[in-house]
Subunit: 86 residues, 6 copies
């Protein structure tokens, strides 16, 4: 992956700048956000992303691969929150 | 992955909003649920998912990739439950 | 992955309902079982699985991907058993 | 992955039935063994494996995927040996 | 992967030679840097990378795979920083 | 993956037979070495590797997959070195 023309500083990569969330549900939402924003950092052109949306969103293999990214991000967030153990 | 039109808040991403389960079997079921719901968050259109079902469910490579997602989710859930050690 | 018609409750996802095994060899066998059963949960139709068997079993890329699932499951089981350290 | 006709009990999945090795080099060799044997458990037919050998061994994508399996197995073995720290 | 003609010593693989960052946002940026630089180490020819850029940046599957690399690097960086827990 | 004719004992899989390095940069270099050597163990024929080099080095998907291997190896090496925390 070559960086785009310049690392797109403007994309906030970690909303809230923390991995700590109150609940697993919030942690899961954060995992999705990290994954979405990764793509936006790598491909900052919204039009390119819009062209890609119908392609991957209707491709089971891509949906599964995207779920793998979410699962990996969630593993990190869950560990960060000590698995929201009481 | 660009988010769908709006992050589908209505999909509950973590049923029960906890990673803690009584047994490995329940933990495994939760891992499947997290994986299923990831796809539903990324592609909220049930019709699109229904079209995809026969494609991936009869494609060994997709079944294996889906199993990889479950394995990754389960690793997180198992750690959360301290591997259900007595 | 949309769930099959209904999550196939009948498939026992974690044989013995424990991740604890006496030896690494047993732990490895359990990792294979978890991986096999994942596919059976996602695709409960035995005929579909039988059709897929000769496809993936003679496809090096699929065999390697399946080995990746086993490696990921085994990582979880090994951690659960504290790596069977004496 | 449907299991082959019967889980091939005869394949020893973890040579020596331990993850503990004296050195990283031995641990790395064990990681390769676990990966090789995974394929042999999933596809016990030597002739099928021999047919696949020239395919994957000359396919960079398959070689890279196989390296990923080794890296994942090694992560488990390294953790088991506490990274061979003095 | 055979190494390029010679491991390109000149590419700094870990900017700042540390995994420790002040915040998750900085940690995330480092994860992107590690991923970008991996590609530059494996393929040191800028022209080849420039040719590849429009290919992967408009290919949802490649964008997702790249996000997987970032997620894996971030998991390491987050653990290094003890998840930036207060 | 069936092993090559004989596991190529001659390839040193872990240069220096240790995962411990002085700095993250050295740890990163070791991660690349482990990944390169994995391919050399699986495919010991230099001519085959040379044929593969231009294929994967100009294929973004393969470069990304190779980066994933490096990221996984680095995660192990970073943990081995306790993330080079002061």
């Amino acid at each position: 992956m070559t960086p785009p023309v310049a690392t797109p500083e403007k994309v906030v990569k970690v909303p809230g700048n923390t991995l700590l969330t109150a609940t697993p549900e919030e942690g899961r939402a954060l995992a999705f956000e990290l994954a979405y924003r990764s793509v936006q950092v790598i491909q900052p052109d919204p039009a390119a992303l819009d062209r890609g949306r119908p392609v991957y969103a209707n491709d089971p293999a891509a949906l599964i691969a995207a779920s793998q990214v979410v699962a990996t991000e969630f593993a990190t967030i869950a560990a960060a929150n000590n698995y929201w153990r009481p």
